[in-house]
Amino acid sequence: MPGLAPLSTVIWLPIVAGILVLFTGSDRNAATARWIALAGAVAGFLVALPLYAGFDASAHGMQFIELTPWIESYRINYYLGIDGISLLLILMNSFTTVLVVIAGWRVIETRVAQYMAALLILSGMMNGVFCAQDAALFYVFFEATLIPMFIVIGVWGGPNRVYAALKFFLYTLLGSLLTLVALIYLYVASGGSFALAEYYALPLPVGVQVLLFIAFFAAFAVKVPMFPVHTWLPDAHVEAPTGGSVVLAAVMLKLGAYGFIRLSLPILPDASRYLAPVVIALSLIAVVYIGLVALVQADMKKLIAYSSISHMGFVTLGIFIFNATGMEGAVVQMVSHGFVSGALFLCVGVLYDRMHSRLIADYGGVVNRMPVFAAFFMLFAMANSGLPGTSGFVGEFLVVLGTMKVNFWYAAIAATTLLFGAAYTLWMYKRVVFGAVASGQVEALEDIGAREALVLALAGAAVLGMGLYPQAFTSMLHNSVADVLALALKSKI
């Protein structure tokens, strides 16, 4: 199949698998549903691998291009193509899907087929966002991801899930609707085209660019999420089931940052540079202020959610610093954060499944009962703090380095994350894992089984692999980042 239409395969294979899973119907066939879902997820990851192998890192521009007319009277095309940035995100997404399917194996007991189907379809759609080279197609995938996530949070979520699901949906929808207006404006201004490449070449006066930038910003900033429009994320994370949290943190947030890279910067370079100080300021607020907010959380999931916002602040900082080091760092950070935050949510999920509590205060001394788990948890906590040798270090280091080239103080403020990140993560880790056994419930804990160990080991391998040999990832990025920056640094007025 790959070779014929590799990108379409990457998008549609999980979606078709998801629909198949849906057809297994009621929970009587839960086992079948799980196995089909696993097969679909693994196949989805396997068909993504040839993309890495076949990707020509020395070339510029989009690769694996597929172009078919879709809605001819509006010149909307089914236009796919990827560069190095998309490639890494697709791999990360497909990998995460495998993890969440295994992680939800025993945990999800009701309406299993629907849960697995939602995750698989979501995965395919997000690959679609990363592949789309046509604005209408991009928007369709971008927006369609809301539906399965809404269902996942609302059906399998916690007690306050309805509020969280609605808030998640409406918050993100507001932003994307403004983006839709901006895309229609570009369609009209470009004389009737939705191709991103044509938008890159379209001259736009600076006033228009600023307005369009704000419209794009509304969608992408909410999705990232940036301070001060981040409030939906802690709610969504706390209420979502583990799998939902993992996908949300690992992949869905990246759609926003990816939107900045693919749409905002190249289409609106002047406005992006003009407004960069604002975005940088918001990013730094996220890094520092949200880092402090994370420090005082009593709920583990909330803490990781805030830590996500703080880490994503790094991503937006790296993107809007306008140099290659910063942007490469941002992309690496996106992928790394996908693995690390996903893994941390999995760890919390492991604890929650046993104790049905996410409050740090309820734990203590877990290491005495669950040594294997504690070791994995340690690895991910270290990665979240940015320890060298883990993937968390590479991205943060590159972003700080890139920022330093531009402005010392920006870099100094950003670097405080190494302090705060370590503080809130390790303090949480200490309170949960070390110390005396806190209660009878903790005393009764059983260590992780083979299935859980497999999931955490896979995530751990990704975190360590990326930390020890970042070359494998960054080498894919050089030319792609250079392409984006070339467009972002050119004036279009």
Binding site: R111, Q114, V155, L166, F169
Partner: protein, 483 residues
Amino acid sequence: MNYEMPDFLLAAPEIFLLAAASLILVADLFIPEARRGVTYVFTQAALIATAVIILAAGGEDVAYTFNGMFVGDPMSDVLKIAVCLCVAVMLAYSRPYARVRGIYRGEFFVLSLFSTLGMMVMISANHFLVLYLGLELMSLSLYAMVALPRDSGVSTEAAMKYFVLGALASGMLLYGMSMIYGATGSLEVTEIAERIADGEAIDAILVFGLVFVVAGIGFKLGAVPFHMWVPDVYQGAPTAVTLLIGTAPKLAAFAFVMRLLVEALGAQQLVAQWQQMLVLLALASLALGNITAIAQANLKRMLAYSTISHMGFLLLGILSGSGEGYGAAMFYAIVYAIMGLGSFGMILLLSREGFEAENLDDFKGLNRRNPWYAFMMLLLMFSMAGIPPTVGFWAKLFVLQAALAAGYVWLVVAAVVFSLVGAFYYLRVVKLMYFDAPADTHAIEPQADVRALLSINGLAVIVLGIAPGALLAVCQHAIQLSL
């Protein structure tokens, strides 16, 4: 006297339907209550045959007959086929519902057919009187259908409201038409356009008449501030009739707007006039429809307000004043009819003897009662909200594009903001179906035809969402050839 034989062939579908309706009316008298199914089959056959005749007789050109009173063009063919299919699907959905409520009678079928005939006449009218004739034939049949459950106070009240307000609107419309007649000296659409173009018409009177015509249109579409009848009639009418009122007449109303505003009063100076009026109607409909819908606990009433907001979107396409915009609006009207059929069909599906599933809470936990229909309703609701990959998204995108191309940027921004408000109440339906526990555990066992049709209906929303090109091309092509 020079008498030209009219080309009856052009009106063959209408003539056939009239004959079939009359025949069914008589035949039904001799069919015993227990064999009412025969009438049903005949009615369906008549509708399908009419659609087939339209398809067979349809051409690529615009032709006039009956001294220019009647027009046959690709736009009318497409809309008429859609109307016939809409009514046919509506009858299939409502059969079990009507049967247990004592309205499964010959009148129900015959009135449906006559209202269909009225819509078809409206769609093909090229003369103000014919337009009016079609409108009244449709409306009178619908008034009577709303009042079909004789003993129901709610239905009778709804019928009265519908009738009185409908008569008022017809009066306004006629008054406007008489003004236009005064200004141009003609009632024929093509001739009016010619006279205005030649500068023979008196502008002041023309604009005066235009205001009344727009008011009449506003009423028929259910656009704010002429929407007062919509919620009450939707709620009060038997759901089967609400389904009819909410779908096919919107297609006829679209043709009505096209004939009146675009074909008769499409001169440059007048377009600028009615564009302004439609902007207000559209904006008010979007705002009021979406905001008021949030407060509704009755699903039929909620869908009524949602219709109002959808008509606001439809008007966005028309007020753009471009062929592309008209095509987009036509696409919107057809898509809306599909979504309306599906969502009212779901209410019919959940209703049973002595139980109207018309409250939002009746949809609670539908996913646990029947995942498949819950999924269909989910698709329909997301489509109504305009979320891709459903067809509702494309319908909205195309009308917004047309409005933006015409320079109404702020209006487009307002429209998307209100559609965000709209998303909330559609999501609430999904929330009830998926997140809540069922309050009602009655098994849902529809007949095979309803099951198949409803599934096709729901899937159509996503299939058309993935491949909207063909239907869109049909609409754009039809508008292009007809203007």
